[in-house]
């Protein structure tokens, strides 16, 4: 009983000891804040990766893919159907994208992914990242609300606004072309030297390949005519097929990083986003055909721009409708031999990747094991999204582990502070220890007074640290704002991290481990002083006043 009462009394009367645990408190608070922010970032990053990738994917070793997706899906269903929620077929291939902007042609290396939007959106919720479904901000100001609801099914349809934009753009372009056509003969005639004559010719060739972009030249319009498979539903059926404003058969979702860049307004000092391509515009895509890698070129209409927040994806991925990509790569032909570009069905073509969403992600190792066992390893590789993004996730994990070790060392250093102050307290309490021994207290009893004192200090320190840390995490964005105001510099720049505010996730187990560690260190630090107290000779401690 005396151990308890004395430990509590010491705790309440020795303020110097309370000071010594301030370092523990700060250490615990820092660890909680850092861990919360890091796991916030990691969780956010994972959900973004996961939002683009699927739970797991079966990839063909060759980029030519497998010719019978239906059979593959049936096989996968047989092997692990019980665990699988949804599957979606895709074709993944490297390619190049080019578009015109500000009088120049811009090229970007991309990864082209042919998708079936309905099932892809169920495998990984892509729709939420589409810019037409979000408020668009520029320099912190709302410039337009969402053009469609976030829960609308993901399709290849343009919004009416974008369709209108496209129409106007094409009309302007046609006008421009007419004007150019009228004046060109004179221009060409004026250029007499062979070099000069060759140059415009080269330009023209270049133009016809890349420039025709927005359905300008005659042949592209013709192509648009015969390829349209009624993408607008019943409301647009009456539209004449020769409508020059009709979108291309191939439609794409572009990563925001591919077609946008931030720039600083010199006058106002604000940061704006410049989009070089708008939905409704056309772009050129180049990739390879199957078999002998011949270039495959096709034009596609941009339906939407997505921003997942993973710059790796936003500046690399282009989602295309699966059938059109298959057609461009020669992986599919329509049932009508005279018109092979009509009535395409991806089931008749080849796919390179099967993306799978599991009912419960916990089953992933089991599903991977089964699929690896049964599918021929030479043709298919089976990976979860974590395995696919292994190096990145591992880097984050290592980073956070190192940070934790360093921060824990801070608490360990605090432990030495506790040790020193405890030693002092024991020396100060020498006489009291003698009295307690004279009154019959055992050495173990004396020891446990100081151990429980250390424990109590640890609990108080860790408790205060947990409170401080959690409060800090809860108000981290307010604190960030205040710090930015005070220092005049932005502490957390949203445009760099893609986050509106600092993401945090508090895992109770992390809090428990950190505080347990801190308490343990406080107890460990009190062992030596407690042992010294216990081994004090009662007579020696009583003899002198």
């Amino acid at each position: 009983m005396y151990k308890l009462i004395l430990a509590i009394r010491y705790l309440r009367t020795r303020y110097i000891a309370l000071v010594s645990i301030v370092s523990v408190t700060l250490g615990v608070a820092t660890m909680i804040v850092v861990n919360s922010v890091m796991s916030g970032f990691a969780t956010e990053m994972k959900s973004r990766i996961h939002g683009i990738l699927a739970d797991m994917m079966i990839e063909t070793t060759s980029t030519d893919g497998t010719h019978d997706p239906v059979a593959l899906m049936a096989e996968v269903n047989r092997i692990a159907g019980d665990y699988i929620d949804v599957m979606t077929p895709t074709v993944e291939i490297y390619g190049m994208m080019s578009f015109d902007w500000a009088g120049q042609t811009i090229h970007r290396p991309v990864t082209l992914i042919g998708i079936v939007p309905e099932s892809k959106n169920r495998v990984s919720p892509l729709a939420q990242y589409m810019l037409t479904r979000q408020d668009l901000f520029d320099d912190g100001k709302l410039i337009r609300g969402p053009l469609r609801a976030i829960n609308d099914p993901l399709t290849w349809d343009l919004t009416p606004e974008d369709l209108q934009l496209r129409r106007e753009m094409i009309e302007f372009q046609q006008f421009q072309q007419r004007v150019e056509h009228e004046f060109r003969p004179q221009n060409a005639g004026s250029g007499v030297t062979p070099v000069a004559a060759e140059a415009p010719a080269g330009d023209a060739q270049f133009d016809s390949f890349l420039q025709p972009a927005v359905g300008s030249s005659a042949d592209s319009t013709a192509e648009a005519e015969d390829t349209i498979v009624d993408p607008f539903g019943p409301s647009t059926t009456q539209r004449t097929p020769s409508d020059p404003a009709a979108p291309m058969a191939a439609r794409v979702f572009l990563g925001a990083g591919l077609v946008s860049f931030p720039y600083k307004d010199r006058e106002t000092g604000g940061t704006h986003m410049m989009y070089m391509v708008q939905p409704g515009q056309d772009i050129n895509l180049t990739t390879i055909k199957t078999g002998i890698p011949e270039p495959a070129r096709f034009k596609a209409t941009v339906v939407d721009i997505f921003k997942s927040g993973m710059s790796e994806y936003d500046s690399n991925l282009v989602f295309c409708n699966l059938e059109e990509l298959q057609y461009a790569r020669g992986m599919i032909t329509g049932p009508d031999p005279t018109n092979p570009h009509q009535n395409l069905n991806w089931k008749d073509g080849e796919i390179t990747t099967l993306q799978i969403k599991l009912k419960d992600y916990k089953d992933a190792p089991e599903v991977v094991r089964r699929l690896r066992e049964e599918l021929p390893a030479a043709y298919f590789s089976v990976r979860t999204w974590e395995q696919k993004q292994g190096p990145l996730l591992e880097a984050v994990e290592v980073e956070s582990a190192i940070l934790n070790v360093l921060l824990f060392l801070i608490i360990a250093v605090a432990g030495f502070g506790i040790l020193a102050i405890f030693y002092m307290v024991v020396v100060e309490k020498t006489r009291d220890i003698g009295i307690l021994k004279a009154l019959g207290a055992t050495s173990e009893g004396i020891m446990s007074i100081f151990l429980s004192y250390g424990l109590a200090l640890g609990i108080v320190g860790a408790g205060a640290g947990v409170t401080l840390g959690l409060v800090f995490v809860a108000y981290i964005n307010e604190i960030e704002t205040a710090l930015s105001t005070v220092t005049g510099r932005k502490v957390f720049d949203e445009t760099i991290y893609y986050f509106q505010e600092i993401p945090t996730v508090v895992y109770p187990s992390m809090v428990a481990w950190v505080s347990l560690g801190a308490v343990l260190i406080a107890v460990l630090a009190s062992i030596l002083p407690a042992w010294r107290a216990a081994s004090l000779h009662p007579v020696k401690s009583l003899r002198y006043e």
Partner: protein
């Protein structure tokens, strides 16, 4: 009337041929050389000697606060100085009561908590809480007896020297000890207050038959006891009956 309860012949606590030396660096400084002392049950004896004569050491040895180099300490005829530490701790808690020159109250505890300290040491948290009220009553009774019943919740720093010494005596009595060991109980007090403390000890001896061993350097105070043991340079010089 107490003479019946005090058969002077029965030895209660005794030191037999005790040797004790302290090491000061490489030097061995003998403090006690072959000391024999015995006290009968219910007896009140004084150990008198100059500073450094070894009287405090003798008392510590009798109270098991220290162990002799040679010789034995016996309680009711049984040797106790070589018992395991745990048993000696128990004996200090149950059999001996200590009173020191400088009171030695714990500054963190209130008066009543100081008095209850031996009971807190004897009982674990749960058994103490179970009997808390009975213990408090007991403490109140003892504090009333020493005349401090009205100052239960004061801190030692708020008490006078005499009050602190009375509190220390109350604490020593709390576990109903058989032997009270008092090391210069009046040494730090003025003669009037010292006299009161002495009267208190005498009455405890007379009314309750408590065996008391008191160490002092003051002959006048020693006169109050029944018997005086005089120590000079670590040896018993003479035994004399007090007045």
């Amino acid at each position: 009337m107490h003479t019946l309860r005090m058969p002077q012949s029965k030895t209660h606590l005794s030191a037999v041929a005790i040797d004790k030396a302290y090491l000061k660096g490489a030097h061995r400084i003998p403090v006690l050389r072959g000391v024999d002392v015995s006290v009968a049950a219910g007896e009140f004896i004084s150990i008198v000697g100059q500073s450094g004569s070894g009287k405090s050491t003798l008392m510590h040895l009798l109270g098991l606060l220290d162990a002799p180099d040679m010789g034995e300490v016996r309680l009711n005829g049984d040797r106790i100085d070589n018992l395991p530490a745990r048993v000696r701790d128990d004996l200090r808690n149950n059999v001996f009561g200590f009173v020191f020159q400088f009171y030695h109250l714990l500054p963190e505890l209130t008066l009543v908590e100081n008095v209850l300290a031996p009971l807190m040491i004897r009982h674990g948290v749960f058994s103490y809480w179970g009997k808390k009220n009975a213990f408090l009553e007991q403490a109140q009774e003892i504090l009333d007896r020493v005349g401090l019943g009205h100052r239960l919740h004061h801190r030692p720093s708020e008490l006078s020297g005499g009050e602190m010494q009375r509190a220390a005596i109350a604490r020593a009595l709390m576990n109903q000890p058989e032997v009270l060991l008092a090391d210069e109980p009046t040494g730090n007090l003025d003669s009037h207050t010292g006299g009161e403390i002495l009267d208190l000890l005498c009455s405890l001896n007379e009314d309750e038959g408590l065996t008391i061993i008191m160490v002092t350097h003051d002959d006048y105070i020693a006169q109050q006891s029944q018997r005086i043991v005089r120590l000079t340079e670590g040896r018993i010089q003479e035994l004399e009956e007090a007045a």
